[in-house]
């Protein structure tokens, strides 16, 4: 159970660098963070690294945390998302090359899409290039505007827009491809798994 008083007490003890409090706080929020991290990472092991990095950042800078400024969960997810950019930037010398324009060609695949479960969607997202994945997550799941994404990633809003279009195209192609093959193998197939 997460009560405000309990979290407050835990934070107070965390500021004293007490491991028991740090551990308890981690266990309280780890699942939530993982559910976000998995969307921004290419696999489970990268997501674990991201979660670990998030908690480390938080515990190191816990003295700066002001409880009145926002909920802890929101802050942790913000750190996590930010860390995902940093990690990405460190590993990629060049990001968001050019402003490729993809035509937004959505076909009538709604019936197939609706059958997709969370696990399938995650599998698809993990296959996206990192830049596309970040922007897709920020725009579609977190609800950021292209201007906000541009500011966060230090790119132009139009670059963000084109990356999102590219992400959608890739997702659509992957879904189409898998469903067509499945249909070919099993004519009675009703798309359930991707």
């Amino acid at each position: 159970m997460r009560s405000k008083t309990k979290i407050k007490k835990l934070i107070k003890n965390c500021k004293k660098q007490e491991w028991s409090a740090q551990k308890e706080l981690y266990l309280l929020f780890a699942d939530d963070m993982m559910s976000i991290a998995i969307r921004y990472s290419k696999d489970l092991s990268s997501a674990k690294d991201l979660v670990q990095e998030t908690f480390l950042t938080f515990f190191k800078k816990i003295d700066q945390y002001d409880e009145n400024k926002g909920a802890l969960g929101a802050l942790l997810s913000k750190i996590l998302i930010n860390n995902s950019f940093v990690e990405y930037r460190k590993n990629q010398r060049i990001i968001f090359t050019g402003e490729e324009v993809f035509l937004d060609q959505f076909s009538n695949e709604t019936s197939v899409i609706e059958t997709l479960e969370a696990e399938d969607i995650l599998n698809l997202l993990q296959k996206l290039p990192h830049g596309c994945r970040i922007i897709f997550n920020l725009k579609v799941i977190e609800g950021y505007s292209h201007n906000e994404i541009g500011e966060l990633l230090e790119i132009t809003p139009s670059a963000s827009r084109s990356q999102l279009t590219r992400a959608k195209k890739l997702l659509r192609d992957m879904i189409n491809k898998s469903s067509s093959i499945e249909k070919r193998i099993n004519p009675n197939y009703k798309s359930k798994r991707v």
Partner: protein
């Protein structure tokens, strides 16, 4: 699609073992507690300089010096029979004025009386000459007290007579700071005659000194002073002729040179490591430039200690004219695996990625900037007027910035310039570098020296992903050194 994805993912929980991260987390948090905060090192050079300054101040005003001179003064000041130490500054001035009114001849006789026991005799010519001048002033007992305060407070004290300086230097044991132009300690216990006949036609000063202890006294300089005083018309040489330099200095310099980039790739993928090693052959140094502002302390023993604020820039260009292998996902080439589990057939998308090889030329223009504080120790070898100063020390880098630009030339000739993300930064694995060099210094003015220098620098280790690198630079430069304040 967006709505569906959002709804499905918002409340999705991942099945994982969260406790497996606890070990790492605990280890990282415990290790971080013990990390030494290198920022405290910044205080070290300041502390050292303050110590040097304090020590130097104590050396300038030793109490024993005052008492020594005072003791000798009392020999001269039989008439008043007072200790100069007991005379307040105001009274001191009054006494000086009074003493100016003394009869000149009487004073000369007194000099004679005083000098005889010390073995110094003045011939008639000198007597005549001194009688024409302000001998009273120059022989004023107050002027002979060479404390620092009397030098500054009393205007008369600034005009020290030949006799004063001579007597004080010959008859006293000097314990004050040794001036630059004074030779090393030597004792002359034998009879010493100074024949200054060469000075001028009618200006002969045969002075005989017996059983004198001359310590740290530069006869040549004294002779020059005498000559100068005679030629410039009866002005007595001033004690300021043997002033010492203030040991603190400020220096400004700039240098430019070549650097070598030493990089290591921490990867288990041998092929990748080999490729990176090959890439290194196409990396070229453009230049390494540094500007420094030093604050230093020059000890009379020849050792110096200096710290500075340095700004360094390193520019390099990487010209990778190699085949670039890209790993990316191409839906058209997607390979699917079939997994048949009993009666159910499911389809899992391929987890492997498509590899495409393209020919392209990639040029990286990188600029690294370092802000650092070098702390160095040097030793000064004098060769005529020039000084050769080898120096060595450590350098603490407190900030490092990286800026890059990439030029990609594609197979079809398309040329693309990209600015690298400013947040893409190298981490400083440790902040300590090494700096060593050789300065050749020459006095341009009394307080200002010019120098040429050769410097070797080793940067701290930088890390980015699998890359660890360090820069070794060798540069040539020049600068100016200004000694602070007035001479002692």
């Amino acid at each position: 699609m967006e709505e569906h994805f959002k709804n499905k993912l918002k409340n999705h929980k991942v099945d994982w073992n969260k406790e497996e991260l606890l070990g790492n987390l605990k280890q990282e948090l415990t290790t971080n507690k013990n990390i030494f905060d290198w920022k405290w090192l910044l205080l070290l050079p300041l502390l050292l300089l303050v110590t040097c300054w304090g020590w130097n101040s104590l050396q300038i005003q030793p109490i024993s010096t005052t008492s020594t001179y005072t003791e000798k003064y009392t020999v001269l000041n039989k008439k008043e029979n007072k200790s100069i130490q007991n005379i307040p500054a105001d009274q001191n001035k009054t006494n000086t004025k009074n003493s100016l009114k003394l009869n000149k001849l009487e004073t000369i006789n007194e000099i004679k009386t005083e000098l005889n026991p010390l073995g110094i005799t003045l011939n008639q010519e000198l007597k005549n000459r001194t009688s024409k001048t302000n001998i009273n002033q120059t022989l004023s007992p107050h002027a002979s007290v060479l404390t620092d305060s009397s030098r500054t407070n009393s205007p008369i004290s600034k005009e020290h007579s030949l006799k004063d300086s001579f007597l004080l230097k010959t008859a006293t044991t000097r314990q004050t700071e040794i001036p630059d132009n004074v030779h090393t300690t030597s004792e002359l216990n034998s009879n010493l005659a100074l024949n200054l006949n060469t000075i001028g036609k009618s200006d002969t000063y045969p002075i005989s000194i017996s059983s004198l202890k001359l310590q740290q006294f530069d006869l040549i300089n004294e002779q020059k002073n005498l000559q100068s005083f005679i030629n410039t018309g009866d002005k007595f040489p001033r004690i300021s002729k043997v002033k010492t330099k203030n040991p603190f200095y400020v220096s400004v310099s700039g240098d430019i040179g070549y650097f070598y980039r030493n990089s290591i790739f921490n990867t288990n993928n041998e092929e990748f490591a080999k490729q990176l090693e090959n890439n290194k052959k196409t990396e070229n140094s453009l230049f390494a430039a540094t500007t420094n502002i030093y604050i230093g302390y020059q000890h009379r023993s020849g050792f110096s200690l200096q710290f500075s604020i340095a700004y360094s820039e390193i520019k390099e260009v990487f010209n990778y004219k190699k085949t670039t292998t890209e790993t990316f996902l191409d839906p058209k080439d997607e390979v699917l695996y079939f997994i048949i589990d009993n009666m159910d057939t499911s389809f899992v998308m391929d987890t492997s990625k498509t590899v495409r090889t393209t020919e392209r030329t990639v040029k990286h223009f990188n600029k690294h900037t370092f802000y650092s504080i070098p702390l160095q120790v040097g030793y000064q070898f004098a060769w005529r007027k020039a000084k050769l100063i080898p120096r060595i020390g450590l350098s603490y880098t407190y900030r490092h910035n990286f800026k890059g630009r990439t030029n990609i030339i594609y197979e079809n000739g398309r040329n693309e310039f990209l600015e690298e993300n400013p947040e893409l930064r190298f981490d400083l694995k440790n902040r300590i570098g090494i700096e060593a060099g050789l300065n050749l210094e020459y006095p341009l003015l009394k307080q200002c020296h010019v120098f040429a220098m050769a410097t070797y620098r080793r940067s701290p280790k930088l890390t980015l992903g699998i890359t660890e690198q360090r820069y070794h630079s060798l540069s040539l430069g020049a600068g100016f050194k200004f000694f602070l304040g007035k001479s002692n």
